[in-house]
Amino acid sequence: MSEAAFPINDLLRRKLQTSLIIGTLTLSVASTLFLLLYGSRLGFNLSSTTGTLTAGLTTTLTQFLLFIGILIFAVGAVLTSFIAFLMMAQRTRDFGLIKAAGCPNNLVAGYFVTELLITTSAGCIFGVILGFSMDYLTANIVFSKYPLPNLWFAPLVFIVFFVLALFFGALPLLKASRMSPVNALSPVNYYNLTPENKHKPLSRHGITWKISTRSLIRRQSANLRIVALLSIVFILLTVSVAGGIIASGTTISWVQQTTNKNTIAIATNSMGDQYELLLSKFSGASETGVFNYSDPTLAIPETVIEQLSNLPTVNIVDSRLVLNEQVSEIDNYTIDPDTMVTSTVGGNREGTSIVIGVNPENLSGTWNVEGRLLNENDNFEAVIGDSISQSMYSPDPSMHITLANPLVEGISIQNNTFNIVGVCVDPINNGLVTYVPIERLENITGLSNPNLLLVTLNNSKDQSTAIAQIKSLIQSIDPNLNVFPLNSVVEKNTSFLASTWQTIMLLPFFILASAALCLVGYMMLAVDEQHQEFAVLRAVGAKPRIIIFVLAIQSLIVLISSFAVGISLGTIITLLILIPQPVITSVTILEITGWLLAALAAMFIFSLYPAFRLAKGSILKIMT
């Protein structure tokens, strides 16, 4: 037999095992590569590249993606090493047999290193192809376009995983090459079993359970590896599913609360369309031309506001003056109380912002805000959007700004300074927005009327009738005015945000699939180790379901112990580190519990495949 023929024939003879190893490696490489490609597209540099989402939400996503990325990489590394170890550990016996037949050590090692090279190369190549394909599909679905990704990720992932697989796969080979053929042929070595039984028999009953648990205890080395691997998988799953659901719910509520669901906009047709466009920028819409917000024809007469306020169907009339202005950062100073040293906070950076004048008493929505909302009695305050905060109020070494904090700095609009009292998450203009008191903005700009009304309707009334009534009222005063229901834009924004989170949460499912394959590999090891005994049990009268039961207990113990560790650590990480002030309801908890239990159940059922396959076989087939 030629040196190349043995490894290929050996791999082909172990079809299921070979496909499992290549499949696991493929999924592991693919999910890591996909995460890097998609992460770079979505979270790592989102606002500047795609123009979607606000900077604050991007930061939350980025933090989340980075953590999941680290975990996926860790799982990928452990998974790769485990599967390579599993594959080669199962060949230790063959190593011993071939050596016993007189084959030189280096030739035997050559056979198995060739097998390792073939499987790892195939897994890594298929993984890279699958990773790119997944990124291509997702980018087209989520962003409806496919800008070329960073191609350097492919060799990076390929090399790291290839080296890891080779290293960990070579370890059992190295160990086997140092063993005498007799030792290599001993199950103690080729299954990494604990050599001596140390259990004291307490009872002579519950024997099926005993066969299961004692065999499990005997495979300490493999068990520790699979439990460690699955624990990381379940941490990853908890962080992504629990964290994803909580973060998704929290951020969606941030977006939703800025525009109340019963709110409609009233403005001229062009202003109404422009306001909808400003809201839609969050989900990817872009400006097609320059809009003149100061156009006097956009002004809404005072009588419209008065008459709307008198309608019983109307709760709040939120008058707004929406403008596009050049804004400047106003730096400040802090004094260290101990050293009395004065430090400059911020600089004098400039930018463009949508500036919205609002009446703090009559706001139709609210914001998730760091700091506080505008004070009714102070005309010199401003609340800025999170994107303005990040672009103009972050430390910037290139401009020698080492300290920056919007909440101690100010913002200048047409040479009028406002103290920043809050930073909010707001989808309007993707967070490039500044809220100031309307009265002050009118004084600065010389514009005396609002150009947009946000009207919150009474919840109990028939909405369509109320809207029709409002439309007829406003058009009787000014025929240029129209009603713009904002529900569809808000829904579009929230569903975009939800789909972004869902895509992130999808990532760990690839890892879950590879971990499930790995668990099947582990169960095959269990079957392989115990097949002789299973055959005896069957011959002596055990029904096929007893064999399935023995293996199911082993799988369940491994899964439950990993699940307990993974869920506990994952929950702590999610709640304490990733999502400050999470919005958690009983529905959220039920949803998370449902997903995690479904994942556990799916893995358990999947892991039983080797058991069912074994139980289906004849006793003589099991024996051989």
């Binding site: 001596e196 039984n197 004291k200 028999p201 002579r204 009953h205 024997i207 099926t208 005993k210 066969i211 004692r214 065999s215 005997r218 002789q532 005994e533 055959a535 005896v536 049990l537 069957r538 011959a539 002596v540 009268g541 055990a542 029904k543 096929p544 007893i546 004849s618 006793i619 003589l620």
Partner: protein, 222 residues
């Protein structure tokens, strides 16, 4: 007790067909001690496996205790083996994670015998095979002969009427073989139906009947 009619077994490995048993017909009445002999590869193990319901014939019929084993499903055959058949393999085949007592106990647990009865039976069987002091030892702590005696005790756990042994002394020295022969003598004295495949002359001397297989065919019957 056992009736085989035109029994045939063919294995297919790739495109090659190997005919292991050809037209074997015989009957073993109750309480008879039958020895199956023949050279290696003559089909002795296959014949015992078919009688035990471990394997199925390709052709012909096999009746054990009046049951046609050909048309029974796996669950029935499992119960049948557990209650009606005691089987001893050449290679001991004990469950390595169970103690001697537990190895003897598990067929009884599957036949849902009460705990007290199981305990009593374990003591009785281990005394019979002379291993009462090794009840809590694991198979790895026993010699080959001791392991084979435990396998005998396990095969007798449910007090089956039919006892099958496939070359039970094949891996043992003379002293240990002698002990196995004593156990077989005891079974014969108790009126069990015993079918043993063996080359051992001492066991052959116990036979009421000898079935000689050659290349899968029944060569002679004594």
């Amino acid at each position: 007790m056992v009736y085989a009619e035109a029994l045939g077994k063919t294995y297919q490995i790739g495109k090659v067909k190997i005919e292991v048993l050809k037209d074997v017909t015989f009957s073993v009445p109750k309480a008879k001690f039958v020895v199956v002999t023949g050279p290696s590869g003559s089909g002795k193990t296959t014949l015992l496996n078919i009688i035990a319901g471990i394997d199925r014939p390709t052709r012909g019929k096999i009746f054990v205790e009046g049951e046609d084993l050909n048309d029974k499903n796996e669950d029935f055959l499992s119960d049948f083996r557990c209650i009606n058949v005691g089987f001893v393999f050449q290679a001991y085949n004990l469950v390595s994670t169970l103690t001697v007592a537990e190895n003897v106990a598990f067929p009884m647990e599957w036949s849902e015998k009460p705990e007290e009865e199981i305990e009593k039976r374990i003591t009785e069987l281990l005394e019979m095979v002379g291993l009462q002091d090794r009840a809590n030892h694991f198979p790895s702590q026993l010699s080959g002969g001791e392991q084979q005696r435990v396998a005998f005790a396990r095969a007798l756990a449910n007090d089956p009427q039919l006892f099958l042994a496939d070359e039970p002394t094949g891996n043992l020295d003379e002293k240990n073989s002698q002990k196995i022969v004593q156990v077989l003598q005891l079974l014969k004295a108790r009126g069990k139906t015993v079918i043993v495949s063996t080359h051992d002359l001492q066991i052959r001397q116990l036979a009421d009947e000898v079935l000689s297989l050659e290349a899968g065919k029944l060569a002679s019957e004594k």
